[in-house]
């Protein structure tokens, strides 16, 4: 049975109705980078992001197994919403500002996939992407949230609005402010992105 060809809904159904673990595995494989990156960019700590990622799926599994999942919605936005709520819970518990955190050893070379470039070019790219990440973290949390959900979660603005409990216009406006603020910061820091 090729699980890769099945829709999320079909996989969810297989997991709920037949307890097919491979269906859950495929769902995780399919969405892990979107979910994990969305959590990671909000909490800025790899280890914490891993914990929240696991807790997210534990809630997902419990909800699915309890038969409480409503198939009316889409799987990914639902999981992202659970992850988002867990991030909020975490910051409420910690009572600290999510924009203040220590570095966690993020290694840009892990994701750049650079092979045939000079060391200088590698260093410039590393610095550039690192700078971009820092600029994203400088955005007001609500703007950063929308940018992350839109880009990494691939959510529609309606889905983002629903998840963050604001109107669509507010979500759209936050995206616009996020882009404009990023651009202004890049100009002021003379940061140029070369792909």
């Amino acid at each position: 049975m090729s699980f890769q060809l099945k829709t999320d809904q079909e996989l969810v159904h297989l997991y709920i109705a037949k307890g097919t673990e491979a269906a859950l595995s495929e769902l995780i494989t399919r969405h892990k980078s979107r979910i994990y990156t969305s959590i990671y960019l909000l909490v800025k700590d790899e280890y914490l992001a891993e914990d929240i990622f696991q807790d997210t799926f534990i809630k997902v599994i419990k909800t699915l197994k309890a038969g409480k999942y409503n198939e009316e919605g889409k799987f990914l936005p639902w999981v992202l919403r659970i992850g988002h709520n867990l991030v909020i819970d975490h910051f409420r518990r910690e009572k600290r500002n999510p924009t203040i955190t220590n570095g966690d050893g993020f290694d840009i070379f892990d994701v750049l996939g650079i092979h045939d470039e000079s060391m200088e070019e590698k260093m410039v790219k590393q610095q550039t992407y690192d700078d971009l990440k820092k600029l994203i973290h400088l955005l007001p949390s609500e703007q950063k949230e929308v940018l992350i959900m839109r880009h990494y979660g691939d959510l529609s603005f309606k889905e983002i609005a629903d998840l963050t409990e604001v109107s669509i216009n507010t979500a759209l406006g936050r995206m616009r402010y996020a882009l404009n603020n990023l651009r202004k910061m890049m100009v002021s820091k003379e940061l140029t992105l070369k792909n």
Binding site: E21, L24, S25, I28, T29, K32, S33, Y36, T37, Y40, L41, E46, A49, E50, F53, Q54, F57, I58, K59, I61, K62, T63, K65, K68, Y69, N70, E72, G73, K74, P77, W78, R81, I82, N85, D89, R92, R93, I108, D110, V111, L112, T128, Y129, L132, I136, H151, Y152, S156, F157, K158, E159, D162, I168, L172, R176, L179, L182, R183, L193, N195
Partner: protein, 63 residues
């Protein structure tokens, strides 16, 4: 302490979504800027560890 609840539904009207998003006009400049940073944003994608995924699957099997 107030905790968020786990949602069990995510009802979304996609038609409404599409219509409202089509009505949302970013300026050409804003769109061009977003497109210019998309590849860089993609470079920031991270993966969870294999261990994290194994833990999740183990949890599922344990129920």
């Amino acid at each position: 302490m107030i905790e968020t609840s786990t949602p069990t539904t995510n009802s979304i009207c996609n038609n409404e979504t599409e219509i409202e998003e089509m009505n949302f006009k970013l300026s050409k400049e804003e769109i061009a800027f977003y497109e210019s940073i998309q590849p860089a944003l993609n470079k920031l994608v991270k993966q969870p560890s294999e261990q994290a995924i194994e833990n999740i699957l183990k949890f599922s099997k344990s129920l």
